[in-house]
């Protein structure tokens, strides 16, 4: 894997999640940040900080990105969400257009 092909997503507590750009672009918001022609600073450094998203939620979102790619390619498994995460996860998903 090359660094240029990945993005680092940083949570409120400073936890870092390194995922492939392909996976991150499951999120329309991140896709826009990485591909808009004006160039967000995020796109150049390959880092996006989410001061409002906590690490467990951000990790769940990254898991969802990969699950979504697997699902799109025909592997039909369930995506498990712990009940205590649902509310925060929904708010984050709304923000990320995921």
């Amino acid at each position: 894997m090359k660094k240029e092909e990945t993005v680092k997503l940083i949570s409120a507590e400073g936890f870092e999640f390194v995922v492939s750009k392909e996976a991150a672009m499951v999120s329309q918001t991140i896709r826009n940040m990485l591909t808009s022609p004006g160039g967000f600073a995020e796109a150049q450094h390959g880092e996006v900080t989410f001061p409002e998203i906590t690490a467990p939620i951000l990790e769940k979102i990254c898991q969802y990105f990969y699950w979504s790619l697997q699902f799109a390619s025909g592997k039909e498994t369930e995506f498990h969400i712990e009940p205590e995460l649902t509310l925060e996860l929904m708010m984050a998903a709304n923000y990320l257009h995921t």
Binding site: E13, E16, S20, T54, A55, C62, S73
Partner: protein
């Protein structure tokens, strides 16, 4: 009015892309963790531990012989020559990464916990 245009500009939203991307798409991913960093690594069950380390090499600037991977659920150190399937490393598994220290020993597996960093306490 011009429905044929939709098919040209409308793509790129998940579903229709698999034909192009199937080459990069792997059967599973693992979560490689060290301190506060998690690397999501796409892989196949038939890949060896060494192949995973070679993928990590591009991200962390440490050669494969300076890396040690430990399956967190069983606390077993993964063997370079064995495949992930052999060692029961499954989709979404968490693997701890340790780096060789200056004294040639590997550091302990250390994965930061969120509870220690919560900004709302």
């Amino acid at each position: 009015m011009t429905p044929h245009l939709d098919s040209i500009s409308g793509g790129g939203d998940g579903g229709g892309d698999e034909g192009i991307k199937s080459e990069t798409l792997k059967a599973m991913y693992i979560r490689v963790k060290r301190n506060k960093v998690t690397y999501f690594v796409q892989c196949d069950p038939t890949e060896t531990t060494l192949e995973i380390k070679q993928k990590l090499q591009g991200l962390i600037d440490q050669t494969s012989n300076n890396q040690r991977l430990t399956l967190v659920s069983t606390n077993e150190v993964l063997d370079d020559s064995k495949t992930l399937a052999d060692q029961k490393v499954e989709n979404d598994a968490i693997v701890g990464l340790s780096i060789r220290k200056d004294d040639n020993e590997f550091e302990e597996v250390c994965i930061a916990r969120v509870e220690d960093y919560t900004p709302f306490s």
